[in-house]
């Protein structure tokens, strides 16, 4: 490893996006074998087992929640939003990396994206699924969730379109739909490959159904390219819009610490930041577990580290501006809130988030860190934690100190808050495990295309 880094440093050459020595067949073999022929590693069973325990915890916690009501959580007046909204924003943010990788980097012709886009997109979908649970569950009467949709009600009642929560419904559902379509369309050629390579009846049938009759003809490829470009075009604004809309949930409110124009860009940057951190968190163990170092190379890790560094700096600028504007505004409420964040009961969270989100990731300036999977993994975990804390500080701390001191109060999650949160992490991981077991986690045909381009150079 060290030699490898030294080599890069010495030659100042950029590491390849695919290690040399691969042929079309070897790529196809290696990736499809994970699904079709190679024995499932023990680690998979252990990981999936543990994740599934958390899924069961989630089911139990949600059942109890639906029976008793949201009062089992720690929310109160004044802090009427707690873990549910924090987790929602966090999960939605995580999803953003997948979309960015698959849409924006596609349009920007960033070839290195090819090996990570598939599972980053899967991550997006699973993260949005986890995120989507929370706004539903946090409702006082979740069984009426559909009242937020503009369905043709016989009472002629429509949602109240001035509310950012209604915008959220559209933003998140659009996001989920486009992400799912994009992911599925991208999977079709590989599903056909799996169909062709599968030996057993059922996989052949299942992959065959999913491949929708893909034969790899030039017409198919033409249509595929058009569709994926169109979807990329559709998904691109979503990268910016979804988290912007999510940030509106706060900025539209009057609450000091929420009511700020910096939120949309800073939320989008934060989302990409946390998303790349999650991609790294998943990619580093996966490439190790399945020996995919050839496809997910140090080049990928380094690039993702650089994206994190860039977005992290935007986030840092956001924090700085929040502080500055709260002072500059002259509003006693804003000033007090900033003071309280730094010195109040939740100060540890505030300082921890600065440490995790701003200070530690500065190590990414160092190339050696950017090319060390272990260091990157640690930093990515820090950023994941830091971004969760950031949302906690925004949602909870702001609400706990608004306008009337008589109504000030504190919040902390109960065991049920933690159970639901841990449960969604379990659900996310369990879905990821199922995904890597059943579908090619790296796009086979894109890797083959990449090999073609590389060899042409």
């Amino acid at each position: 490893m060290a030699d490898e880094v030294d080599k890069i440093l010495a030659s100042e050459e950029i590491a390849p996006v695919i290690e040399p020595g691969h042929t079309y067949a070897s790529i196809t073999d290696k990736i499809s074998a994970i699904v079709l022929t190679r024995p499932t590693p023990m680690l998979w069973y252990v990981g999936f087992g543990i994740s599934f325990v958390f899924v069961l915890i989630l089911l139990f916690a949600v059942s109890y929640l639906l029976t008793k009501g949201v009062g089992i959580w720690g929310i109160n007046i004044p802090v009427a939003w707690g873990f549910a909204i924090v987790n929602f924003v966090w999960w939605i943010g995580i999803g953003h990396a997948g979309t960015l990788i698959s849409a924006i980097l596609l349009l920007l012709r960033q070839k290195w994206r090819n090996s990570i886009n598939r599972f980053a997109e899967a991550m997006t979908i699973f993260a949005v699924m986890c995120a989507g649970l929370f706004p539903l569950l946090h409702l006082g009467r979740p069984w009426y969730f559909y009242w937020l949709f503009p369905y043709p009600s016989t009472m002629d009642i429509q949602p109240q379109f001035r509310s950012p929560l209604v915008w959220d419904v559209f933003a998140v559902s659009t996001y989920f739909t486009v992400s799912l379509l994009f992911w599925y369309v991208g999977l079709i050629p590989d599903l056909a490959t799996l169909r062709d390579r599968a030996r057993k009846r059922f996989p052949r049938f299942a992959y065959g159904m999913l491949a929708m009759g893909w034969r790899g003809s030039a017409v198919h490829w033409h249509r595929y390219e058009t569709a994926s470009l169109l979807l990329a075009g559709l998904a691109t604004p979503l990268v910016v819009s979804v988290h912007t809309v999510v940030s509106f949930d706060f900025t539209i409110g009057l609450v000091p610490g929420w009511h700020s124009t910096i939120f949309p860009p800073y939320f989008v940057a934060g989302a990409i930041y946390s998303g790349f951190a999650m991609v790294l968190t998943l990619a580093i163990p996966l490439r190790k577990m399945y020996g995919l170092e050839d496809f997910i190379t140090l080049r990928h890790l380094k690039n993702m580290g650089e994206v994190m560094l860039a977005t992290g700096l935007i986030v840092a600028y956001g924090y700085m501006m929040e502080g500055f504007v709260s002072w500059y505004s002259g509003s006693p409420f804003e000033r007090y809130l900033m003071f309280y964040r730094m010195h109040g009961a939740y100060r540890y969270m505030f300082w921890a988030l600065l440490l995790f989100n701003i200070v530690i990731p500065q190590a990414l300036w160092i190339l050696r860190v950017r090319t060390s999977p272990l260091a990157l993994f640690i930093i990515a975990i820090c950023v994941n934690v830091g971004m969760w804390l950031e949302r906690y500080v925004i949602v909870v701390v702001s609400l706990s100190r608004d306008f009337m001191p008589s109504a000030w109060g504190m919040y902390s999650g109960t065991i049920w808050d933690y159970a639901v949160f841990a449960g969604t992490i379990g659900l996310f991981l369990a879905l990821m495990f199922v995904f890597v077991r059943l579908l090619p986690m790296i796009s086979i045909f894109e890797m083959r295309g990449l090999l073609h381009e590389e060899s042409e150079k």
């Binding site: 009062g71 109160n76 009467r141 949602p159 509310s163 409110g253 306008f403 000030w408 902390s412």
Partner: protein, 1014 residues
């Protein structure tokens, strides 16, 4: 039922019950059918439906069977109370019951007796269910207002934990069995002139009951009538006797008082006249239109009280120094001797001098008020000072006492216990009260009680005392009773029932009648009989008018002339302890102050969820009593509160448990730091720690009665406190008492106000790009006068009662989830030791630009055409975004299923005009929209506009100081529109451009320029 034949209207219901006894299950129903054919049933039927029977005298067979079937069906419906028995006419106040209009409530006048006098009420009844209590404007102690206790009393009526059966030795039995046992016992007592008969009552204010009890004493010359109540005006009575040589009640006229000195007197929340005093006091301090004059209030007290919180100057002294202060002031004013300002600290001396000068320069227009709980000497000295200042006959007059038999309550109980211990008591009838729980610690009532062979306890609950008596008798709630009572000025009121007893309770009148050999005589007859003897002219006219008005004309006591005996002799007449100079202070020994709890009182309201969850006026704690100490004392003893993590601050505060040792008794209780408390003293609130209160009141708080002795029922010295090392979680609703520089409550002194009347006004800028709402008909608005608000909590409970607001329990309060739509914020200004206190009731602001409305995704909270911010409960999905976006945090969320949909009796209590909310729904103040709509319907029928004052919100109606004014701001002439134009008017957080409909009038106080803080 030996006397059945002699009384025409004997309750044969008992006979039916008796017959049914021993039957259960299937047998029961068969028994009932059998009963239908019996004479007893026929008689019962006749009583239940007298007109019905009359109309059906010649009915056919089919109709008869239908009738019987209906009666049986009705008999099976438990909990379906009806209005009063049909042959006992009760008279509605406003609407005559001709043509019963369903869904149209009726109001009946009655009275609630509490803390030494009655408060006249008008009780709203929906289809025979009393639902809401309002004050009776014609009653001198109500003037239309009520207090928290009266408001909450309706919940006690429906309390499912109230005792429902007669028990004997713990076993369920019948009234009949008790009456037979009592007859037997009385038979024996008659032989020796009642030598073994003792009756223990609470304070008797009812003239009829007093008359009956005197008749018992006449019939049994050797029997004794004892009175005991833990919160009695014993010191006031003894003080009057010491001063005048006779018992007298002081009647204050605040309207004529320019300078008032309250000596340990919380006259705004204690004593029979509290509502009238509060009304008069507030009226003298109302400045409008930038002009006006105010009276000035000085308070000397140890425990922070509502009176202290609204006074212009407050001096916190420990109890012993209050006595010294009173003596020194009396000496200074030439109304006593022996006192000397040198005994006081220099600061107190200066204060005293300023007060004395102020009082002297307002001779005949000043007033010195001693508190009910302050020592006898202070009372006597206060009377002497009023005389010396020429106030007697002007700002204060004297009348005979409201209590029928002014005796020393504690001595009376002591004598009873002595008699029991001497074996002289064979039968003890306890009418109300709970002496086993609340008797002084050194009077071993509980220990002696079993020595009495025949004990019977009439009470609302099967409580601690009932458990130790042979017989427990369920008492009828006052809303189920015929009785009478008196206001603090003597004005009598007939207490009329709103509903037949839900649980078969009886009144004290009926029990005492049984002692007189008149068992079976109804309270109705007894009360009527008494007043027939008192009235002149046509009795029926008198009776109807008295019931209708809620007051009996001409029954107020005339003022009597009393003269202060030589003030010099006061101290020599008192037993040592009361007059002694304070002992030299040992720093570790504290003075102890005993006070009834501000919400559960002496413990009698312990099972009332509304009062349990009602934040105490100054500490804002719920569900517990804590020992109050000053910040300095707490610091010295090392007590400090800690904010809990979950719902901390506003919900949960973790405090130290202290070990209190006093009078040889050790008690553990949580400690609460009360800014403004006197140093070197601790206030212990009694009334908590009940063990047999019911499901609500059991296991709440700490019982401190074991420390309260007969020698020092209100204050004493010798308390030591130390940390026990244990912690306790208190549930409060407000922890932050600092406004953090935000101008939420705006205040000024009278001088500042005169210089700049509009000191509180914001510069208004309503610039907007968007067209505003147009209000063509009405635009409802509210103005709340923070000068007038005394923080008494009446509005909070009135709101809870009117709007079916659930009780959530201590655990939920610690999570910051209490449901009160109207809260009273309490802020302090100045130092911790001498804070200025402000109360600010905060209902929904009904903003023109409501931040809640724009964020609701389903449009469940919307703007009405009249400017109300309305909640549509059944559209709410519970995102809680509206609450987050409400800068006033007035929205309340049903985090869990809080409303009780199960308990039948509690369902009866609900206001039928207000939706009972389910889990997952947001709610908040509606400006009592149901009342607005009712008034609008009436107005539309008459083709007119709703008149100003026609709609009174529940909080406004309850407010004793008229601090809350509601009305149509489109009507320039309305009271509320005028207040909104007043220079004192300001809105909360208006720079957020919410444009609140609820606005406030800034507080103006009138400090003495001489006492300006240096």
């Amino acid at each position: 039922m030996a006397d059945d034949k002699s009384h025409r209207n004997a309750p044969s219901l008992d006979a039916v019950r008796h017959k049914l006894d021993g039957l259960s299950g299937e047998r029961y129903w068969r028994g009932l059918e059998e009963l239908a054919e019996s004479d007893v049933f026929d008689q019962l039927l006749r009583e239940e439906f007298p007109q019905g029977i009359g109309a059906y005298t010649d009915i056919g067979r089919r109709d008869f069977i239908k009738f019987i079937g209906a009666s049986l069906a009705l008999a099976g419906l438990s909990g379906c109370g009806r209005a009063a028995p049909a042959d006992e006419k009760i008279v509605p106040y406003v609407t005559q019951p001709e043509g019963w209009v369903p869904a149209k409530p009726q109001f009946y006048a009655t009275a609630f007796t509490h803390d030494g006098a009655a408060m006249g009420l008008l009780v709203r009844s929906h289809e025979g269910r009393p639902v809401k209590i309002e004050g009776n404007p014609a009653h001198p102690d109500s003037l239309g207002a009520t207090d928290a206790f009266a408001q909450a009393s309706i919940l006690t009526l429906y309390d499912p934990d109230r005792s429902q059966v007669v028990t004997s030795g713990g076993a369920i039995t019948t009234w009949n069995a008790f009456m037979i046992a009592l007859e037997g016992e009385m038979e024996g007592q008659r032989l020796n002139g009642g030598g073994g008969l003792r009756i223990l009552t609470e304070d008797v204010i009812s003239p009829t009951l007093a008359d009956q009890l005197r008749a018992v004493l006449a019939r049994f010359p050797r029997a004794k009538w004892h009175q005991y109540e833990p919160v009695a005006r014993g010191n006031a009575l003894a003080g009057a006797r010491l001063a005048f040589g006779e018992y007298a009640d002081a009647q204050y006229r605040f309207a004529d008082a320019d300078v008032v000195l309250a000596l340990d007197a919380d006259f705004l929340s204690c004593g029979g006249g509290r509502l009238r005093w509060a009304r008069d006091f507030a009226a003298r301090r109302r400045v409008r239109g930038g002009k006006g004059d105010m009276s000035r209030l000085y308070t000397v007290e140890a425990t922070p009280t509502t009176t202290g919180s609204v006074s212009d100057h407050r001096l916190a002294l420990p109890p012993s120094e209050i006595v010294a202060f009173a003596r020194a002031l009396a000496a200074r004013l030439g109304a006593g001797s022996g006192g000397d300002a040198k005994a006081l600290s220099p600061a107190s001396g200066q204060w005293l001098e300023a007060v004395a000068r102020d009082l002297e320069s307002h001779r005949g227009r000043s007033l010195v008020i001693p508190g009910d709980y302050t020592p006898v000497l202070v009372h006597a000295l206060a009377h002497a000072m009023n005389q010396a200042l020429g106030n007697a006959g002007k700002t204060v007059s004297y009348t005979q006492t409201v209590t029928a038999e002014p005796v020393d309550r504690i001595a009376s109980l002591r004598e009873l216990v002595k008699d029991i211990d001497a074996g002289q008591v064979a039968a003890l009838i306890i009418l109300g009260g709970n002496p086993v729980f609340d008797a002084p610690a050194d009077i071993p009532f509980e220990r002696s009680l079993p020595r009495v062979a025949f004990t019977a306890h009439l009470s609302l609950y099967e409580d601690e005392t009932s458990a130790r008596c042979r017989w427990h008798l369920p008492q009828a709630h006052y809303l189920e009773s015929w009785s009478d009572t008196r206001a603090s000025d003597g004005t009598a009121t007939i207490v009329q029932p709103l509903i037949t007893p839900l649980y078969g309770g009886k009144t004290a009148h009926e029990i005492v009648a049984a002692l007189l050999g008149q068992s079976g005589r109804s309270a109705y007859e007894i009360v009527r009989d008494y007043w027939r003897r008192q009235s002149r002219g046509d009795f029926e006219t008198f009776w109807r008018k008295s019931l209708h008005d809620g007051v009996i004309e001409g029954t107020a006591f005339p003022a009597k002339t009393v003269n202060v005996k030589s003030a010099a002799s006061f101290e020599s007449q008192l037993p040592g302890s009361a007059a002694k100079n304070p002992e030299p202070k040992n720093k570790d020994v504290l003075e102890v102050i005993f006070r009834p709890d501000p919400t559960v009182f002496d413990g009698r309201f312990a099972n009332n969820g509304w009062l349990q969850e009602l934040p105490k006026p100054l500490t804002k704690l719920t569900w517990d009593n804590a020992v109050l100490v000053s910040p300095k004392t707490a610091e010295r003893l090392g007590f400090a509160p800690d904010i809990g993590a979950t719902g901390g601050e506003r919900g949960r505060v973790i405090v130290d448990i202290a070990e209190l040792t006093y009078a040889g008794v050790q008690i553990r209780a949580p400690v609460w730091i009360a800014p403004g408390h006197a140093d070197g003293a601790a206030t212990v609130l009694f009334g908590y720690g009940r063990t047999r209160a019911g499901r609500v009141g059991n296991e709440t708080g700490f019982n401190v009665y074991p420390m309260r002795t007969s020698g020092a029922p209100w204050q004493g010295t010798g308390l030591t406190m130390r940390k026990s090392g244990r912690k306790y979680t208190l549930a409060g609703v407000q922890y932050h008492h600092n406004m953090e520089g935000r101008d939420l409550v705006r205040s000024a002194t009278l001088d500042e106000f005169r210089k700049r009347p509009d000191f509180a006004r914001d510069k208004e800028s309503n610039e907007t790009l968007y067209p505003g709402f147009k209000y063509e008909a009405y635009a409802w608005g509210m103005a709340i006068d923070t000068s007038a608000c005394i923080g008494c909590n009446a509005c909070v409970v009135a709101c809870q009662s009117e709007n079916n607001i659930p009780v959530v329990g201590k655990t939920e309060v610690t999570r910051g989830r209490e449901m009160h739509w109207l809260r009273i914020d309490r802020y302090y200004k100045g130092t911790l030791d001498e804070p200025e206190t402000f109360h600010q009731p905060v209902p929904c602001m009904h903003c023109e630009n409501a931040p809640c409305e724009i964020v609701c995704p389903v449009g469940a909270t919307t703007h009405s055409q009249e400017g109300l911010n309305e909640m549509t409960y059944n559209r709410c999905v519970g995102t809680r975004y509206c609450s987050n976006n409400c800068p006033y945090k007035v929205r309340r969320f049903n985090f869990l299923q809080y409303s009780d949909f199960e308990t039948p009796s509690l369902r009866l209590r609900n206001n039928p005009n207000v939706t009972v909310r389910s889990r997952g729904v947001m709610e908040k103040c509606t400006y009592c929209v149901q009342r607005i709509n009712a008034a609008r319907i009436d107005a539309e029928k008459d083709e007119r506009r709703v008149r100003d004052g026609e709609v009174k919100t529940a909080c406004q109606a309850a407010c004793p100081t008229e601090a809350i004014v509601f009305g149509d701001i489109n009507d320039r002439e309305s009271a509320v529109a005028k207040l909104k134009a007043d220079p004192l008017n300001y809105g909360l957080l208006t720079d957020l451009n919410t444009r609140p409909r609820t606005t406030y009038l800034a507080a103006v106080r009138n400090p003495n320029p001489e006492l300006k803080k240096t």
